[in-house]
């Protein structure tokens, strides 16, 4: 049930994000979600794309530093307190969320959140037990 996230190292230099997105565009890859974490000197771009393998190859051969990370996607009620209700079962199991960000598309009426934790399988189990829907990778990539 986990999803492959593509992470890319980017120096804080003008035009680099443009080059990265162009590279994906030229390879016919669609970005499904994106999150940027930055410091003074560099940033880490995290991407969910429709074809992670192809994206990895395209970026790598264009000279980017690329790594894959395991994350998962969960449906969240689109209402006040929706995200809190998802986090609760994780906190109960002492699973630390390293970061999370929102998916671009909705699943029906619900929002979709991408979550990164150390213990992905355990977190998925906890959320399922609490009645949440974790979105399978095939479904997510093609959303």
């Amino acid at each position: 049930m986990t999803v492959k996230q593509i992470s890319v190292f980017l120096e804080n230099k003008s035009g680099r994000l443009l080059e990265l997105t162009r590279c994906l565009g030229d390879a016919g890859i669609n970005i499904r979600a994106l999150c940027v974490a930055d410091t003074m000197d560099f940033g880490v771009i995290r991407l969910i794309v429709d074809d992670p393998e192809k994206a990895h190859q395209a970026l790598k051969s264009a000279g980017f530093t690329v790594k894959e990370a395991i994350v998962f996607a969960v449906e969240v009620d689109d209402r006040p307190g929706g995200l809190a209700s998802v986090l609760k079962p994780l906190v109960d199991q002492e699973i630390n969320v390293e970061y999370l960000y929102c998916f671009l598309e909705k699943a029906g009426d619900n929002a979709v959140v991408i979550i990164r934790v150390e213990e992905a399988e355990q977190a998925i189990g906890a959320l399922k037990a609490a009645g949440f829907r974790v979105i399978p990778p095939e479904e997510l990539y093609s959303m």
Binding site: Q5, S7, F9, L10, E11, R16, A37, D38, T39, D41, F42, V44, R46, G63, F64, T65, K67, A69, E98, R116
Partner: protein
């Protein structure tokens, strides 16, 4: 050894030879070079008074500025018609300096380079790829003549066109590679991109020089290129490559003392320092006809080891050059050479061997920024992970060198690769 009679000569005989040659050299300078005639007269000394090697200290130093002031032919001790070859330094920092060689000079240089190649485990049967630049720079032709003198096969490929370099190594079965250490690393990177593993090549030795490098860098090169790496030293003013070379024990570089007298001086006072002390390297040439030099200040920092070497060579060894007096950075009062920082960086597992130093002055304080390329190994989706790398590098440098630096991670292959001498420092200070 290529010439055991000279290279393993008993030291007392070697010193007699040096004294005889020193007298001849000073005599030649006095008689043939107006600049030296005046210098020596002003210092109140003539060649006839040189009766021991200690008398050398009475002779004033020669500096790079002296060579510039006498550009182009003022330092030559023969008429230009006796000169068969001219080399020149790049002159990036001012007027170029020109050096001239007579037929005998080229002959001696070839002999010294042949000795250096043999010390670096090169034999007649080897195929030697000379990837130093050919041209005004002494590297390419210096090696070339040495390989021919030895009787090995030379591939005079010169610097640059890295993919062709690799292809030649594969197709021709190169066994000895000669270039700058930074270019060797660049070749390794290019080979990897081409899908060629150095372990499948026939290389056994690499003779690297023309820029300061560290023992850590050597380990890295030896591991990645799968060869035994030797440090060679030389400078065009004094001759070119082949002034000194490491033997298989790699505990310093044997200086060919039948051709040069080395001294170590305090760069500030000019005082001659005792063996083992670190200071500026000074050379007096003993056989050069075209452009003899008396006590030439190299600005290279080294020390001399007079101890016996198990290889049997009796010529003294200089410690590998740790930097140049003009490369030395003073960061908030601490003297630092780029090679010291390199040494720390190479010691950290997982780091890229490519780095750059940027010096800036902010509010009267010197700030040293060390740029390091991110490797696959370092990178993950966690920002914290990268910050931890920065902290590790920073604290290693601080604990070894006592200075705090700013570490900047940059993207792979963004630090300029060099096909010749690497430029390690960008100095933005306006002083």
């Amino acid at each position: 050894m290529y010439n055991p009679q000279i290279e393993a000569m008993p030291r007392n005989e070697l010193k007699e030879l040096q004294l005889e040659r020193l007298r001849q050299t000073v005599k030649r300078c006095e008689e043939m070079v107006p600049f030296y005639r005046k210098r020596l007269r002003d210092a109140g000394i003539t060649w006839k008074e040189i009766t021991s090697l200690d008398d050398l200290r009475r002779i004033p130093f020669t500096t790079k500025d002296d060579l510039r002031d006498n550009y182009p032919f003022g330092m030559f001790a023969v008429p230009v018609r006796e000169i068969v070859r001219i080399h020149a330094s790049s002159g990036t920092t001012g007027v170029p300096t020109v050096v001239g060689y007579t037929k005998n000079d080229i002959d001696m240089w070839s002999e010294l380079m042949a000795r250096a190649l043999v010390a670096g485990k090169t034999e007649k049967s080897d195929i030697v790829q000379v990837a130093y630049g050919y041209g005004l720079f002494t590297g390419g032709l210096g090696f070339h003549y040495g390989v021919e003198r030895l009787g090995a096969s030379v591939i005079p490929i010169s610097g640059g066109n890295t993919k062709r370099q690799i292809r030649m190594m594969v197709d021709l079965g190169t066994t000895v590679l000669c270039c700058t250490p930074s270019y060797a690393l660049y070749m390794a990177e290019t080979a990897e991109e081409m899908g060629i593993d150095f372990k499948e090549l026939k290389l056994k030795s690499g003779i690297f020089g023309a820029e300061p490098w560290s023992d850590r860098m050597r380990e890295k090169i030896e591991r990645i290129l799968n060869l035994s790496a030797f440090d060679i030293y030389g400078l065009s003013e004094v001759m070119g490559p082949g002034v000194a070379i490491e033997c298989e024990h790699k505990q310093g570089l044997h200086i060919f003392e039948d051709a040069f007298i080395p001294e170590i001086i305090d760069p500030d006072t000019g005082e001659v320092l005792s063996p083992g002390k670190q200071g500026e390297l000074v050379f007096t040439t003993l056989t050069k006809e075209g452009m003899p030099l008396l006590r030439y200040r190299t600005r290279d920092i080294s020390s001399i080891d007079e101890g016996e070497c198990p290889c049997g060579r009796t010529h003294v060894r200089m410690r590998r050059v740790s930097g140049r007096t003009d490369d030395m950075l003073i960061i908030r009062g601490v003297n630092i050479f780029p090679s010291q920082i390199e040494s720390v960086l190479m010691n950290i597992e997982g780091l890229s061997p490519h780095y750059q130093l940027v010096v800036d002055r902010v509010g009267g304080l010197d700030i040293l920024e060390v740029q390091v390329e991110v490797t696959e190994e370092m990178f993950s989706d966690r920002v914290r992970g990268l910050e931890e790398w920065e902290e590790v590098i920073q604290s290693e440098i601080e604990s070894y060198l006592g200075i705090s630096v700013k570490i900047t991670l940059v993207e792979p292959r963004t630090i300029a690769r060099s096909e010749g001498k690497a430029i390690r420092i960008i100095d933005n200070r306006e002083i």
